[in-house]
Each structure stands twice: as C-alpha cells, then as structure tokens.
C-alpha cells in the first residue's frame, strides 16, 4: 500500500520550519553576518585592488554567486543533518518511526523544510548584497532553478549525513573537512581559469566547480564550464541522494535497529 500522507508531510515540514525560527539568530542572522563579512573583506578590501575585475565582471559582483553557493550549500547540509540527527541522538525519533509515515513524507518534510530555509537565506543574501555591490541576474529563471536544485540536493545530502553520523564529531567533520575545502577550491572567489596547470585540470574534478559556474552563468552569462554539464551533474547528484535515502528507508539502516 503506497499512499502519500500529505498531512504527515506538512506536519513535519511545519515543525522543522518552526524549529528554524525558534533559532532564528543562529539559522538566519549568522549566515547573513558571515556573508556581509565576506563582502567587506573580499568585495570591498580586495576587490578594490582588482581594477579589471574577472572576465569583465567587477570583482565584488563576481563573488556574489559564489558566496550565495557557499551559504546555501553549507546551510542546507547543516540544517538537514541536524534536523534528523538530533531526534536520533535524543531518541525522539521513536515518534516518527512509529507513525504511519514513509520515505516520501519524511523527505518532503525534512528536506523540503531545509531547502525552504536555504531559499529564504538566498533571498536575504541577494538583498544584503545590493548594499555592497551592483550586480544583475541575466537569467533569473535559471538562477532560481539552480538555487532550488542546489538547496534540495544538499539538503538531501545533509539528511543522509545526519543518518550516517553516530556522533557529533562525524556530523561536523564532513562539512568541515570535505565540503568547505571543496567549496573554497571550487572557484567560489575566483575563476579557475586563473589557476596554473596542473591545478586547473585538477579543479575540474571538483564537483563544486560545476555548481559555482552554473550559478555564475545564470548571473553573468559567462562560465568556466558548459551550463548543460553543470545542470546535468547537479541533477545527477540529486538523483544519487534520492536513491541513497530510498535505500536507507527500505533497509532501515541506522534508523531501525
């Protein structure tokens, strides 16, 4: 019997968003402050030394998509991973496991809420950015699509991380030791074409490069990689995460003993 219980999904979704607003200082103000600091340091202080900008785009404006990605990627992962790890850690997950709720409701609820938070953050950051730099969005529809896909897929990834982790250390080590380096080395603040070989080729193995450049293309119409490739890889990552979560629910891995 496979039915989707919209009310259950909505309940989880609402609960998760309420939880975010309960901790609004941490989940909304902190990323905004961090982003502002990046604008001040990179955009204003360093950017003013770079008269030519990058590929014809003013440096302050050039880093907007990268900063956006940095924030929504990190926040999606941390929101979704904490969202599911905390009830596992405290034991409160018993309620979810004993409820007539399947994988679809759980995903729509937890991941939907995490992605929604990321979208709200993205909007706040874009508004914040207007106070520091002039930027424009060449392809607003694709920009929205990219932000949505990145929020959703990294929320899914965070959800898997939150189920896999059996300690707070593991929960924070993946974002810290894997995601952050990949993001910083992925051309968030620079064009990878400015890198010398072999670093430029090596950078192409970094999946974040495709995300940043996809997003940057939607802003300025220029990119280090083909937009189709960016979109394709993002969708592939999304599909892998959905597959992983479906497997987790089917086997009960780390959820049911």
């Amino acid at each position: 019997m496979t039915v989707f219980n919209a009310r259950s999904a909505w309940t989880i979704y609402k609960q998760e968003l309420l939880r975010a607003f309960r901790t609004a200082m941490q989940s909304i103000l902190a990323p905004v402050l961090t982003t502002t600091l990046y604008f001040v340091v990179f955009g204003a202080a360093i950017g003013s030394q770079m008269s030519g900008g990058v590929g014809g785009v003013n440096y302050g404006a050039f880093i907007v998509p990268g900063l956006l990605l940095l924030t929504i990627l990190g926040e999606s992962v941390s929101n979704a991973s904490f969202g599911i790890y905390m009830p596992r850690f405290t034991g409160a997950i018993y309620e979810l496991l004993s409820a007539p709720v399947g994988v679809a409701e759980t995903l729509v609820g937890f991941v939907g809420a995490a992605a929604t938070k990321s979208l709200i953050l993205a909007a706040i950051i874009l508004v914040t950015a207007t106070f520091f730099v002039d930027y424009s969005i060449a392809h607003p529809f694709y920009a929205f699509l990219f932000i949505l896909l990145i929020s959703a897929s990294f929320s899914l990834f965070g959800f898997i991380l939150g189920i896999w982790a059996d300690s707070f250390e593991k929960l924070t080590i993946v974002p810290l030791l894997i995601l952050t380096p990949l993001t910083f080395l992925g051309g968030t603040f620079y064009s990878i074409q400015t890198l010398p070989e072999p670093w430029q080729s090596a950078a192409m193995a970094n999946p974040v490069v495709y995300l940043v450049n996809g997003l940057r293309w939607t802003f300025y119409g220029t990119s280090d990689v083909a937009i189709g490739l960016s979109l394709g890889l993002t969708l592939l990552f999304l599909a892998l995460c959905v597959g992983g979560i479906t497997w987790i629910f089917r086997t009960g891995w780390r959820l049911r003993t």
């Binding site: 019997m1 609402k14 309420l18 007539p100 009960g252």
Partner: protein, 323 residues
C-alpha cells in the same frame, strides 16, 4: 473474539549477535490491560519496538487487528500508540504544539477540542504553553502520554510508565491508565515493578531472557502459584523439629526459636491457612508453647521472584525451597 494483537514466534537477534527475543508467542485481548513483567534486559522494550516499528524482527509474525503488521504497517500503525521509556522529545517545544504535532504526524486533521480534553485529563492544560523542558519528570512523562493519545490509538504501549516516578505520581499514573481502559483502549505496559502489575493488570505475562515464561490472568496466577507463609515464634527454642509436626512443610530457624511454614499452593486458596491452624493445634497437643504467629499470603512478587530464580538459577536460600 479476534485478538487485538497476535504475536507468533517473534525473534530478534541484533547485529552484534545478541538475541533479545527467542520466539515469543503472545496474544492480547481487546480492551484488557496487559502487564509484561520482567527484569531489565528481558526483552520487553525490544518486543514493543518490534510491534511499533522501531525494531526489525528477524523472525516470526505480528498481526494487529487481524492484519499482518509488516504488510499493512501504514494503516495499522495509525491505530497503535507508543509511550517510550526514555523521556525523549523536542524539549524546547511548548506542550500544546508538541501534542498537536503528534496528531498531525499520524496524518489526522487538527482536533483542538480533543487535544484540550487529553491535556485536561492529564492535568497538563495549565502548562500547555510552557516548554516541555521546564516541566517536572512526572509531567514530562504525561506529555509523552498525551502525544501518544493524540491520534486516538486503540492499542497503547506504555514502556515502563512509572520508571523513576515517585509513589504519589505512580498512583496518579495508575489512575490515568485505568481511565484509558474505561474509554476502551487496550493497554500493554511493561514494568519491573511487580506492585504495578498487581495493581493494574487484568493479565500478566512474565518474560525472561527473551522468552515468555508464563501468561495468565493475574488472579489465576496468584491462585495457582500463591503460597502461605507463617512464622511461629516459640516460647522455648527447639533443637530439632518434633515428630508430631514433621509431616508439615516446616523448617526451624538456626537459633531454634522460629518455626517457618511455607505451603498451601495449588488448587484454590485457603489450603495454607487451614494447614497453619492444624500446625498450631499439633503444637499445643505436643506441649510446645508459642508466643506469636505471623501469617501472610505470598504476593505476585514472590511468584515472580520464584519464577525468575526457578529453573535456571540455583536455588538460593529459603527462596529456593519454596518452589
């Protein structure tokens, strides 16, 4: 009448190789309060978890409301409620929102009047806007009960509902559970407090090391296994048991001052007390004077302890000879 829950050959071996359930058979009748009694680590929580979807059984079957739990988990789980042993919930949530959330999670439309009734019945209504973390331990447990009742389950599991709760609150909890039965809810509770099973349950199941040792009506169990114990304090110490009373199940304390009677089990009650009367007459006839008689019927606790120490543990002291 169709049983509300039917468990057949339920097995659970954990990934680390520990076998928590060794083929448990259990039938629960609609409308009863069933107490699953057993020491820590007996498999009580695992058994509940297997029914509620927290534990994946490695063998056997579970049918609830006449349907296979594994196949129809979605619609069956909607009719089952669980109050866990640990006080685990989002402690930063206010009471009312947390309980309302529980109902929504089970896919039911909001029912503010029902939630209010549940909270009032559990004396939580005045605390409805307070964060759960600010409540006392007993109140927190009531919140978990309210959460489990929010979707109006027909079958409710209470895992150690009174663990770590003081005497007054425990009595209070018993009242709440009795009220649930009045409303037609079938209740399965686990406990290692014998008093609780004795006070609450219609039927009692005794579980040890993943096996059900005995399931019976509480009254029948006490009848069948009940015993009379009498301590007769003698005026003068005796060196040995006199010939005149040797036929009775008596033993003499080390200092020879107290005669201890243990017997009267088996069919019906009263056999023990009348036998004690015979013993006293025999003592009088033999000219043995006594100054006091202390007589009592064994409780479920004695039965329980005897069963648990029974076939496996070596008979320890005077407990052992009672079986």
């Amino acid at each position: 009448m169709q049983p509300i829950l039917e468990i057949r050959g339920l097995q659970k071996t954990y990934a680390n190789g520990f076998t928590a359930l060794k083929g448990v058979d259990l039938t629960i009748r609609k409308g009863e309060i069933f107490a699953l009694l057993g020491p820590n680590g007996a498999g009580k929580t695992t058994l509940i978890g297997a029914v509620c979807g927290l534990v994946r059984p490695t063998g056997g079957s579970i049918a609830a409301f006449g349907e296979d739990m594994r196949r129809h988990w979605r619609r069956l789980r909607a009719r089952v409620g669980l109050v866990p042993q640990e006080l685990a919930t989002d402690m930063f949530e206010p009471v009312l929102r947390s309980v309302t959330h529980s109902r929504g999670l089970f896919g039911l439309p909001p029912a503010p009047a029902l939630i209010e009734e549940i909270l009032r019945a559990l004396s939580l209504w005045d605390k409805r806007n307070e964060q759960i973390r600010t409540l006392s331990g007993g109140m927190k447990r009531r919140v978990l009960i309210a959460k489990a009742l929010a979707h109006e389950p027909e079958l409710l599991f209470l895992d150690e509902p009174t663990a770590g709760v003081d005497v007054e609150l425990r009595r209070d909890m018993w009242k709440q559970i009795a009220a649930l039965r009045e409303r037609g809810t079938t209740v399965i509770l686990t406990t290692h407090y014998i008093e609780e099973a004795e006070e609450m349950a219609d039927r009692v199941g005794i579980i040890r090391k993943g096996e059900i040792l005995m399931v019976d009506d509480k009254a029948a169990m006490m009848d069948r296994l009940g015993r009379t114990e009498a301590l007769i304090t003698l005026a003068q110490p005796l060196a040995d048991l006199p010939e005149a009373i040797a036929a009775y199940p008596l033993s003499l304390s080390e200092d020879g001052r107290v005669l201890c009677y243990r017997g009267g089990g088996g069919e019906g009650g009263g056999a023990g007390t009348s036998e004690v009367a015979e013993v006293t007459k025999a003592l009088t006839r033999a000219g043995i004077d006594y100054t006091a008689i202390d007589i009592h019927e064994s409780s479920l606790e004695d039965i329980f302890v005897n069963l648990l120490e029974g076939p496996e543990a070596p008979a320890a002291g005077d407990r052992g000879e009672a079986l």
